[in-house]
């Protein structure tokens, strides 16, 4: 996943909260909590960076934590909070 291009789903809104953010999917109506501000920064950066790894670096996540963040992102992908981005549609 780290070398792939991903993006926040267009149907998802992020609501900032003291602990991170609430992610709400207007399509499937799933509500998810992003429990770390760093994860919110990563999710927001996905669309602006060529791949997941670059988004992690841009958000200041240390290398040692990249695998753990990839797991968290995979969890978000399961409910379509984020989705793979096809080439040429970078936001």
């Amino acid at each position: 996943m780290l070398d792939e291009a991903w993006i926040l789903s267009p149907s998802v809104a992020l609501r900032p909260e003291p602990f991170g953010a609430l992610a709400y999917h207007f399509g499937n109506r799933k509500l998810t909590f992003l429990k770390r501000p760093e994860l919110v920064a990563v999710v927001r950066a996905l669309g602006e960076q060529p791949d997941v790894r670059s988004a992690l670096i841009a958000a200041g996540v240390p290398d040692a934590q990249h695998a753990a963040y990839a797991d968290a992102l995979a969890g978000l992908a399961r409910t379509d909070m984020i989705r793979p981005r096809s080439e040429g549609v970078a936001a």
Binding site: R15, E17, F19, L22, Y24, R29, K35, P37
Partner: protein
């Protein structure tokens, strides 16, 4: 000089929720106190419309504000919300402003045409419908909700199903009389392609009058807990049974009291209360017309600040189960006359019952008087008549002599003085 302690950014989600959020997750908005029914256990003592009810324009302004605050959906109730003439307009207005709607109704206005509207692209799949039903049979349901209310609810469910509306909810308040019908409720939901939603009977509003008669008995609490553990995934509970977590394993969902932290209630006149079960002056945070809008009330009211500050477990803190039940439901304690830092009246470890008995014996059990009541002043044909035929309980009234006439029962009948 004192500096406000900085909010920790780590900790579990529950710990974070206890400190409050910038906007509620689960907001209930009662659009009207008017109702065609007069359910015996109505949380909001509904019946008559309040003349100060928010106008259509004021409701639209509330929706605009919810959109700005990113409150993604709102639970609309009442009273019976659909008898507001502008209900369908407000529903559409909310959906068009990215505020999803889940509304509770007794079904009175859910005609085939309305069911079709709810299924149509106009609602964008962004509307949930909850039909209230408190018995799986007419006999059990109509006893508390009034004659004809069972048929009305089933007609509404059939209309939704015929229109192709997917996944309606059947919303049940669990009582002493219907706990034995859980499987029947599930079958009913399956029959209509609906999802079952079970919630807790609260001693709020008119519920205070019937709580002693209707709240589930201790062994029924266990029955409910076991049933939820077995069927939990397919059944919604609105996280309302977190006091049952002290039986052992917590039930799915957030096991905490969200009042003023992630939950609140806007009432028909714009008063903001800590939770839908706490319509009482003690839990009134402010009014969105008088106090600068909903956001201002949510974020700055003194009451909500207080509810978000660390709570002491009081008498419960030393209980081994405190971490699972967190002391139970604030409203249930308040309206049964228990202290807010004490046990829940339905504490499954039995501490609530003990506390209630102790208070009663000491003559200290004070049930708080209602702050407001929109019940109809005179009985109507829809009013439930909670009477059953039975024998006179043998404990009561053993008169020492027959009454002198049919209407002259001895006022001291059954009173046995004790010597001291």
């Amino acid at each position: 000089m004192t500096i406000a302690p900085e909010r920790p950014i780590t900790g579990t989600l529950v710990e974070q929720f206890e400190l409050g959020l910038d906007a509620p997750i689960c907001l209930t908005w009662e659009l009207t106190y008017a109702c065609n029914l007069e359910c015996a256990h109505c949380l909001s003592s509904s019946g008559r419309r309040d003349p100060r009810e928010l106008s259509t324009e004021q409701c639209e302004a509330v929706i605009d504000e919810l959109q700005r605050m990113q409150v993604f959906y709102v639970n609309i109730g009442g009273g019976e919300p659909t008898i507001r003439p502008d209900f369908w307009h407000l529903l559409q207005y909310a959906v068009d402003h990215q505020v999803g709607v889940k509304f509770s109704t007794n079904g009175v206005r859910l005609t085939p045409e309305r069911a079709q509207f709810l299924t149509s692209p106009a609602c964008a799949g962004y509307v949930d419908v909850q039909i209230s039903l408190d018995g799986a049979t007419a006999e059990v349901n109509d006893y508390v909700r009034g004659p004809g209310s069972y048929d009305m609810a089933l007609t509404a469910l059939a209309n939704l199903q015929d229109a192709g509306f997917e996944d309606a909810k059947i919303s049940v308040v669990c009582t002493r009389q219907n706990i034995g019908q859980l499987d029947e409720f599930k079958a009913l939901a399956d029959r209509f392609g609906a999802t079952l939603r079970l919630t807790r009977l609260r001693p709020s509003g008119r519920g205070a009058d019937v709580w002693d008669e209707l709240h589930p008995l201790p062994e029924q609490q266990r029955e409910l807990y076991d049933w939820l553990m077995a069927h939990g995934e397919g059944v919604l509970t609105g996280d309302s049974f977190f006091h049952l977590a002290a039986f052992g394993e917590p039930l799915p969902g957030l096991n905490l009291c969200g009042a003023g932290r992630v939950v609140c209630l806007i009432d028909p006149i714009g008063d903001v209360y800590a939770c839908p079960f706490a319509i009482h002056d003690n839990f009134l945070a402010g009014n969105l017309l008088a106090d600068g809008g909903f956001q201002s009330v949510w974020q700055t009211s003194e009451l909500f600040q207080d509810l978000r500050s660390p709570q002491t477990g009081g008498a419960c803190a030393k209980c081994t189960f405190y971490d699972t039940c967190r002391g139970g439901c604030m409203a249930a304690k308040f309206f049964t006359g228990l202290p807010l830092d004490g046990p829940d009246p339905e504490c499954v470890q039995g501490y609530g019952e003990t506390a209630l008995t102790q208070l009663s014996l000491a003559g200290d059990r004070m049930i708080p008087a209602a702050s407001q009541d929109h019940s109809k002043a005179n009985p109507t044909r829809n009013q439930p008549v909670m009477l059953t035929l039975g024998r006179r309980p043998e404990l009561l009234t053993v008169p020492t002599s027959p009454p002198v006439s049919a209407c002259a029962e001895n006022p001291l009948a059954g009173f046995t003085p004790t010597s001291s």
